[in-house]
């Protein structure tokens, strides 16, 4: 039972990491209607920015994370302005492909700047563990869960109580009607990309903290976060978190128990388990658990 609980908490932390990435997907999807494949590139860039701020510029860790988030936001805004702005009104397929191209460019600039080797982020959590009753929990996991919770609350507050948030919701609902009300869609796009870049940097830091280290392949995690996003529905922040947690817990439970029950599935089946869960759920609910159904007019 302790083992089960331990796996669940580890899964919760993993799910929170996914949730942070998925929040970035959701904010861009809501604004522009496009899945942003470049998110993984922002994740890895954010992690390296935090590394750079903390280790090269000797800033305190918390400040480094904020610097990384600001840097991520800035890169997001620049990328939107230079590339994505030109694609407004183009077919969705084309825009997705642009973000895939961006992913490869962003991801590969990292080893060119910082080199291909793994680097130690130097976070204060390290590999410490805390005992909760009989269960050992990594301090990093607790922080990840807390950070994800804060980010999610900030999202809800932003969307519900601020003028920008309302404008974003209006743009997501109907771009033309929003324009007619005097909302600048351009500003909303830029803000969305900025938020996505910032939250991706935070996700990158939680990824790289502890024993994982900063490495050029960190961006791949965004590809595993896809199932979490699909599961929750592309346009639902709450769904993002729930989807992330479902995927995270399933993954750690698979890793923990697969050898005992289904050894024939092969080594590392937990890394593809998210996709299996995703396909199963999509068969029942083609727009995810909380996604908005597409209305089709003839």
């Amino acid at each position: 039972m302790d083992e089960f609980l331990r796996l669940c908490i580890a899964g919760l932390a993993l799910g929170s990491q996914y949730a942070l990435i998925v929040l970035g997907f959701v904010v861009i999807y809501r604004a522009t209607g496009v899945v942003n494949f470049a998110q993984g590139g922002f994740v890895v860039l954010g992690a390296y920015l935090a590394y750079n701020a903390h280790n090269t510029w000797d800033l305190p860790f918390a400040l480094s994370v904020i610097v990384a988030m600001l840097g991520g936001a800035l890169i997001g805004v620049v990328v939107e302005r230079l590339i994505l702005r030109r694609m407004v009104g183009q077919p969705v397929f084309a825009v997705i492909m642009i973000t895939i191209g961006l992913y490869y460019i962003l991801e590969q600039t990292v080893p060119s700047i910082w080199g291909p080797q793994n680097l130690n982020l130097g976070d204060p959590w390290g590999i410490q563990v805390k005992s909760l009753g009989d269960i050992q929990v990594a301090v990093k996991d607790l922080w990840t869960i807390a950070l994800a919770a804060v980010a999610l609350l900030a999202f809800f507050a932003l969307f519900r109580y601020t003028k920008i948030g309302v404008a974003m919701r209006a743009t997501a609902l109907d771009q033309e009607a929003a324009l007619a009300q005097g909302i600048s869609a351009r500003r909303i796009f830029a803000i969305s990309w900025g938020i996505a870049g910032a939250v991706a940097a935070l996700a990158g830091v939680t990824q790289a903290a502890g024993s994982i280290q900063v490495r050029p392949t960190l961006g791949l995690v965004a590809l595993i976060a896809f199932p979490a996003m699909i599961l929750g529905g592309l346009d639902s922040p709450g769904g993002a978190v729930l989807g992330g947690i479902i995927i995270g817990v399933t993954q750690t439970l698979t890793a923990g128990y697969q050898d005992d029950f289904f050894p024939w599935l092969g080594n590392g089946f937990n890394s593809v388990m998210p996709y299996v869960v995703m396909v199963l759920i999509l068969m029942v609910r083609p727009f995810g658990l909380f996604g908005t159904k597409e209305v089709r007019r003839v």
């Binding site: 899945v35 492909m97 895939i100 590969q108 996709y275 083609p286």
Partner: protein, 368 residues
Amino acid sequence: MANPSPHLVTTYERDLRLFPSLASKIGVALLVLVWLVLPMNLTDYQLLVLVFAGIAAIGGIGLNLLTGYTGQVSLGHAFFLGVGAYTAAYVGDQHDLPVFVWLPAAALLAGLIGAVIGPFALRLRGQYLGIVTLGLVFLGLHVFENWNSVTGGNTGTSVSGASVDVGPLDFGALEIGGQAFTKEQSYFWLVWGLVGVVALLTKNVVRSRAGRAMQAVRDRDLAAEVVGVSLARTKVGAFAASSALAGLAGALFASFQEAVNPENFTLLVSIQYIAVVIVGGVGTIFGSVLGALLVGPVQRIVETASRSQDLPFVSGDAGGSEGVIAVASLNRMIFGALIIVFLIFEPRGLAAIWLRAKAYFRTWPFSY
């Protein structure tokens, strides 16, 4: 009355013709001639690059059928290439069956799996489908890495035993009339011959009823359904045909490379095929061939150029320290940049450039 101009199309029959004018027939004849004599005039290395480009052209035509003509976004092309390649290894190498068995088997099995995936496209739309096919790549990799008895696991498996004897002709090392040819020369004829066959077949598909159904589904699936196009048959058919071509390309790739491992079928490969389709031109058959001829060789050229120290800022191999950027990194960035640049500046690809050039010369000296 005689038709006043070959470019004035007045009947559907004329519109559908495979070779609309004498010039296009001459063009095809010239291409066949080039195909016949090119291997005698190029080095083996250049031919090797072209063989890989030809394989990419076959796979690219397959993906274009699905994405360009039917409008179904698929990131799973690498998986079907893998199915074809491992089928070739299993049937051709491990069971020593002739090329008449393993090549069709690779295409058939990949096509069959494609037909099984097809129904997902009925239920899911657009981006959801794209991400499910992305999952297919990862699930496929997991199977390739773990089904040791067939795929050889992480280290991969040899395909060198798969024979390529077509009757008296052994495409592993052709010998005609006492003259021996190298493997690269032989494969050039085999692969580009197949490119021609595949291009002709798919061209015939897309200009027939099935092809019009595909394009109707792409443009507006609901409207297509209303006018009597069966969505199920069209989408599943497109998936099956596209996957079968990917399987064919994968089998040729495996046989030419003589070994395959899971690294050959990662997501990057899917993206390369998407780059082929986008750079060449979405929804054109000959565009895919042009795209393959640009995207495939670029990678090799970058590799060769950096090996011979022509590019001082590139380090020799991944992990090298003397240059700023590793070759593998540079190649990935080039793919990304190719996709972005073409989508922003030339969304209809090389095919559009070619058509514009043709129109310019046809109407010269009048630009309109």
